[in-house]
Amino acid sequence: MSEFLQFLINGLAVGSMYALIALGYTMVYGIIQLINFAHGEFMMMGAFVGAFTLNRLQGTPLAVALVISMLAAGLLAVLVELVAYRPLRRQPKIFVLTAAIAVSVLLQNLGRIVFGSSAVSFPAQFPQGSIGLESLGVWVEYSQLFVLGLSLVLMAALWLIVHKTKIGAAMRATSQDIDAARLMGINTNLVISFTFFIGASLAGAVGVFYGMQYSVDPLMGVQPGLAAFVAAVLGGIGSLPGAMIGGLLIGIIENLVAGYLSSTYQGAITFVLLILVLSIKPTGLLGRMAPVKV
């Protein structure tokens, strides 16, 4: 039982990071129906910018480095959308998907050339140590508490932006019907840029969290990116609460599988889950299928 609880806690910590990445996938998909394959690379870029800032500007507080990482990842996403996605918006879908996958590979390789291909350790770590819950027989590491806590803060901030601000209302309107939103006088291009910015900055934050727990390398975005995408589909792509729940679930499932079976099959299980969700309930837990327009 305590073993199970321990896996659950570890899963929640990783899952909260998946959830933050999944939010970006789901927001972009909700607005322009595009799977942004480069999303995982925004996370990687965030991690590198954070590491770079802390290394070069000694004494930068971690919080400042985190904000810089988020800004950098967000701005990069805005640039990518502007240059590579926007011109293709009215073309057959396959072209923008191709552009997205190409941007993903391009960023990985730019990362490799600029930062080198070997993994580097992040210049800052979460405080070491853990809290033991004796009665349950489980340990919660400080880093897990930080990640969970910060993730919750970021999710709350996102909720406020989407539901309590003017641009948030514009985002919701645009995701309902982009043409109608434009007719209502909403600057949909701005809304799309803003959505990319917010989604990628969340991924950038995850990059820093990831780096602080593991290490930083140009391919670090691939696995979490895929897991987070599965999370977004599981939750129902386009749904923000769905992405959060999906992320936590994927994190937990992965940890249970790694714990009870073998970590070799962790990735394979994520993929099998994707195929199962697509076969059984393609709209996910909280999603709904939009009617086709004829």
């Binding site: 691939v222 895929l226 697509l278 076969s279």
Partner: protein, 314 residues
């Protein structure tokens, strides 16, 4: 001057020694072109199918479970590779064929990553070291298979089935309204495209001296995708031309010491193509539309199939 001559002699010998690899990539690109170009679906994990084919064939030729004479073993390995890979395509197609194209993209992406990571861990196919494979097939045999694949693709496209596949790409709702069964057709396309990758895998495993998981990483999927996009989605001859050029590109980059920038070049090429010339190098044409060749041969009726970009959908 001597260095220029040296460059071209080494390029020449590179081309000759790459002929088998070029053949393999032409078949891979044709398979992906069937899925992405003719059918307008979006698969990005073609190297995953290729790996399944190569490892299926290698497992048979290396372990030779039935102890058959080598030509029989070779034939068995090719047939098994096509069948197993086609089946993998079926498994991926079943959940995705009803859904929007993006789901297929992520399913094939995930599939290719998982296949490679499993291969790294499966001891009976040599894990990370890979397998030493017998070299049963010659360049001639590979190019015979290339010719058959081209014939297969061409005849499929200019048949009743090919027209319905193209119609489905152009407009799913309209195609269904005239009785085209979308799900069945998409499954068929993915099985056929994957099966071609299986053939390419069998040829690769039977012509290379060894195969290992690193040779089927996601980079390879991107390379094949770039061939299809550069050649023009749906263009038959354009994709063949692009496959030849892009198989040689890494060799050329190696000659000028830029091998490290290979994937950078491929990804930039992809982005530039979709932004600037999404219809591919030949435009909405086939080689037989060029004035020089047109005099000798062209298909019975013109059928424009390259997924062009001039249209603005309203």
């Amino acid at each position: 001057m001597t260095s220029v001559i040296e460059f071209f002699t080494s390029l020449g010998s590179t081309i000759f020694s790459s002929l088998d690899l070029i053949g393999v990539y032409v078949i891979l690109a044709l398979g992906l072109n069937l899925i992405n170009g003719m059918a307008g679906m979006f698969s990005i994990g073609h190297a995953g199918f290729w790996a399944v084919g190569a490892y299926t064939a290698a497992a048979i030729t290396v372990h030779d479970p039935l102890s058959t004479p080598w030509p029989v073993t070779l034939a068995l390995s090719i047939i098994a590779a096509i069948a197993v890979t086609g089946f993998a395509g079926l498994v991926l197609a079943l959940p995705c064929s009803r859904l929007a194209g993006d789901y297929l993209a992520i399913a094939t992406l995930g599939f290719s990553i998982i296949v490679v990571s499993l291969l790294y861990n499966l001891d009976f196919v040599g894990a990370a070291t890979g397998l030493s494979t017998p070299t049963y097939v010659s360049k001639g045999f590979i190019w015979l298979m290339v010719a058959l694949s081209l014939l297969f693709y061409y005849r499929l496209q200019y048949s009743n089935l090919g027209r319905t596949i193209l119609a489905l790409r152009e407009d799913e709702i309209a195609a269904q309204s005239i009785g085209v069964n979308r799900v069945r057709l998409k499954i068929l396309v993915l099985v056929l495209g994957a099966g071609m990758a299986g053939l390419a895998g069998a040829l690769f495993a039977n012509s290379a001296t060894y195969i290992n998981p690193a040779g089927f990483e996601f980079d390879q999927s991107i390379k094949i995708l770039t061939m299809v996009v550069l050649g023009g989605l749906g263009s038959l001859t354009g994709v063949v031309l692009a496959a030849v050029l892009l198989t040689l590109l890494p060799e050329v980059l190696r000659l000028v010491n830029l091998a490290d920038y290979q994937m950078l070049v491929f990804s930039v090429l992809l982005i530039v193509m979709v932004l600037v010339r999404p219809q591919g190098i030949l435009g909405r044409k086939e080689l037989w539309d060029l004035p020089l060749l047109r005099r000798y041969w062209r298909p019975s009726g013109p059928l424009r199939v390259a997924l062009g970009s001039v249209e603005v959908k309203s």
